[in-house]
Every structure is written in C-alpha cells, then in structure tokens.
C-alpha cells in the first residue's frame, strides 16, 4: 500500500504563467485563453508544446483542448469539479509523473467568464436533482446558493456582517499592491455594508469579480526540476474530496466538512503543521468562503474565523498573509479562479510578487472549493 509522504517533494511546478492580461478580454475565445496561458507557461520554463506528454484541464474537455493545441498526450485528467479543479490536477499530476505515466504535465485554465466568447450553453435540466429541488425556488447562481449557509454560521457563532466585510477590506489592501488587479481603490467596512444588497447577508462587495483570463502550469519530476532557470516550486502536500452538489444537501451549514479532510491529507503528506504555513491562498468567491476554509483547515477553531479576519491577521503587515494577489474579490475571478490562487502561491514562492512580496517565504497553502461548499482541494507548496 502506498504512502502519500513518499510523493511529497517529488514533483515541481517549473513553468507558470497567466494570460498576458486578465480582466475584460472580449477579443479572445475560451480555448484561445487556454492556449495563450499554455504557451506562456511553457515559455516560462523554456519548453514547447512538443515537450508536453500529459494534459489536465477543466472547462473544455481534455479532447477539446488537445485538438485545439494539436497534441496527443499519453496522460489526461479532465476532473472538472469547479474552481478547485486545477488543485486536484496538480495532485493527480504528482502521482502520474511518479508512476511514469508521463514526464511533463501541462495544466491549463481559460475562461471567458465575462465576455462569453466561444462558450457553450450551461444550466441544469429540469429533471436533475437541482432542477427539481432547487431551481423552482428561484436560485439564480452562486451568490444565491453559496451564501445560503452563512445565516446558520451567524446564528451559531455570532459571526457578523462587519466581520465578513473586513475580509473584503483586507483583500482589497492586497489588491492595492497588485498593478494587475481590477479593483484597487481602498474600501472600508462601511463601503461594503453600504454596497447594494445582492442576497442578504451578501452585499455587492462581499462578492467576487466576474472577469476573463487564464493561467497554466508545467510540472515535471524531481530529476528534471533542477534543469530550469527559475527555482522549482515543490508540491509538498495535496488533498481532495467531493460531497454534495446541491447546497440544500450540505449536511452541516456551519462547517466545510470536506475541507477538514483535504487539509488533514495535505498536512499528512507534507509532514507539516499549521505553524509551518506562512502564506495562504484561500479561494474567495465570497467573503465567507475563506472564513469557512480557515476554520475547516484548522487554523482557528470553529466560529473564530470572523474575529480572526477582523483582527487583521490576513491583511498586509499581518502574521498570516492571505489572498495576496487581491483574491477573487479584487484581483480577478474568471469563474474557476483556483488556477489564479495556485499562480499567486507560485509567484510568491519564486519571489516575483513585487511590492506585495512576502519576505522569507518557504511554504504556502492553496485551498479551493469544488463547487459551492461541494468539495475542496488543498495543496501545500514550497520552495526549499
């Protein structure tokens, strides 16, 4: 029987890049964004598509992507569970490379989330579980569904709208330091609470952006990882899980149950403790999402997430810097933002984050949902 610890620090991210710009890109199709990110990530490590023999993606099928790129990889992963898919791809790539299924894995993301260029139809049919038991009651997208558990958290723990607003404020402070971020003007708690109501308790500024963009990663084995100019970013730990898909089936509305599991698995594989994690990218589709993650991953006790953010730990100058690119809330959010969360960890671990660079950084945790509290994936990345 295998032991995940044997797979830690065996595979590295050696190439990484987002699309040249992110934000509003009506001139690029969804697949074009994948391809652009792929080419740039490969160029980042001096490789070309002809070096790639493993492909993972979500959004398009792997076959749609390989047709567009005109490559025939010998390993594919089409795990598509929402924004955290790419974290799972990284975890799967670690095993695939170790197993000798392939040598060079390309993970791509591209989404015309705002401009809808080259995007197929979406939406569940009326005979699906969601079509029968949720759609008839007027749910209309993530802001009206991902948000449903919050009131129960407020009721059980006394979490407040002000505390959740603090998360948006802290994240915006990071965006102010990121010239690529879409939203860079300072905001206050009052600004968040005064912003338009979307689905109480969510106001507009509790919600992520809707943008276009892409990103890609190149992963190789330990043996090859030393051949590149830039320092390798090692995959030290991973965890993944899926639970429900319909929010009304979330068993405990106050706890991200699947994230508890993925955090434990990632820590066990990396043989690390919470105190080893110096930087966090906790997917922030909405302000409460990183709060639930912080509690589920065990960095604070259940119910302590709201006060923790309000105390400023995660903001610039705090002792647990989080979402340092400005997050989905203020940097960019194409729809499946997980790729950008990984990308910022890589950027920070390479020491390329400019004004927002965390000093003496060696370990980062990335966490993202698979759907709306439906499941999660966790990665621990390091540069030593």
């Amino acid at each position: 029987m295998g032991d995940s610890r044997d797979y830690s620090h065996k595979v590295a991210i050696v190439g990484a890049s987002e699309t040249e710009t992110v934000g509003l890109l009506p001139d690029r199709s969804m697949l074009q964004l994948h391809a652009e990110a792929a080419m740039r990530a490969l160029a980042d490590c001096g490789m070309t598509l002809d070096d790639v023999d493993g492909v993972a993606t979500a959004g398009p099928t792997p076959a749609q992507l390989t047709e567009y790129l005109n490559i025939i990889p010998r390993w594919v992963d089409g795990t598509a569970v929402g924004g955290g898919s790419f974290l799972m791809h990284v975890g799967h790539a670690v095993a695939a490379i170790q197993a000798g299924y392939c040598d060079v894995v390309l993970v791509t993301h591209g989404e015309s989330g705002r401009s809808h260029v080259g995007v197929g139809g979406r939406g569940a049919g009326p005979s699906t579980i969601g079509g029968q038991f949720e759609a008839p009651f007027g749910v209309w997208g993530p802001p009206s569904m991902f948000s449903i558990p919050i009131v129960r958290h407020m009721h059980k723990y006394g979490t407040t709208e002000e505390q959740m607003a603090e998360i948006a404020v802290a994240t915006r402070k990071w965006a102010e330091l990121n010239p690529r971020a879409m939203m860079r003007d300072p905001i206050t708690v009052k600004d968040v609470l005064d912003s338009r109501l979307i689905a109480w308790p969510l106001h507009l500024l509790n919600c992520c952006l809707v943008t276009d963009g892409g990103g890609a990663l190149v992963l190789v084995s330990e043996e090859r990882a030393k051949d590149f100019q830039k320092p390798p970013v090692w995959v030290l730990g991973r965890g993944e899980a899926t639970a429900h898909t319909n929010i009304s089936m979330m068993k405990d509305m106050t706890e991200w149950t699947s994230a508890i599991q993925t955090g434990k698995d990632a820590f066990a594989m990396a043989e690390m403790l919470h105190s080893d994690i110096q930087h966090a990218m906790f997917y922030d589709a909405f302000t409460h999402v990183p709060m639930y993650a912080l509690e589920a991953l065990g960095f604070v006790k259940p119910g302590e997430g709201g006060p923790y953010f309000a105390e400023g730990h995660t903001a610039p100058g705090g002792d647990f810097p989080m979402n340092t690119n400005g997050g989905g809330l203020s940097y960019t959010h194409t729809g499946m933002y997980g790729m950008f969360a990984i990308m910022e960890s890589v950027t920070q671990l390479r020491g390329e984050a400019g004004e927002r660079q965390i000093e003496n950084l060696h370990t980062s945790m990335v966490h993202a949902p698979a759907g709306m509290f439906s499941g999660t994936s966790t990665l621990i990345l390091g540069n030593e």
Binding site: P126, Q132, F137, V139, I148, V151, I198, A199, I247, M253
Partner: protein, 139 residues
Amino acid sequence: MAYNKPLPQATPETQEFWDGLKRHELRIQQCNDCNQFYFYPRPFCPSPGCRSNNVEWQTVSGKAKLHTYVISHHGFGPWAEDVPYVIAVVELDEGPRMMSNIINIDPTPENLPPDLPLEIVYDDVTDEVTLAKFQPVQG
C-alpha cells in the same frame, strides 16, 4: 399570465413526491431499518452505515423550522417581480431538510430568525405542478 418560472420534471424515483404535493400531501421516504426519514427521494437509505433498500413512503406533517436562508435582492427573468424574496433551507420536524421559499411574510432579517417555526403551503403553480413552500406558523 402563464407561470413562467422553472418547473421540476419528475424522475421515476421522485414521482411519488411530486404526485403527493399535487394531492396536497408531503410525501417523503423513511428507512424501515434505521427509521430515519430522508430527502430527496432515492430508492435506498442514504444514511452512513445503513444504506438499506427497505424504505417506504410516508406522509409527514409539513411542520418545519427555518434552518438558513438568503433574502435575494436580485432576480433573473421572471424572478425580478418577486424581489426581494427568501430562498431558504427548512428542516422538517421529521429531520430532513429541503430548499423552499418562505412566503406570506415581509422578508427582513428581523422577521426571519433561524429556527422560526414554519408550516407548509401547497402552492399550485400550474395545473400539473404543486411546490412545497413554507410560511410562519399561523396563530
């Protein structure tokens, strides 16, 4: 005006639920082995450690408590006329939870404390479909 919001389309394992609502009965399943009620309908008990196929449809009370919710201030298409409206998860007195709308109430957080006692309202939205909605217990 004809009802223009999304309508459910029953599947074989959910047909009895929808047929029940049309008769103004709330029908959910109970496991004969572990005695737990569950929702949504499935031909087996979903409880960990049980997973029995020995399950039976029961008519239940329609009494519930407000578990959690949002007040939607945004509505696409036909929902726009309903804004603001309450999208809730209610917990039936028998245990299972389901999504619904809370109606016949001014939708403010003050009027909607968690655990508020609720009762079912059978909403005949078309000749074929009845939806299970909830309102605060009257009187």
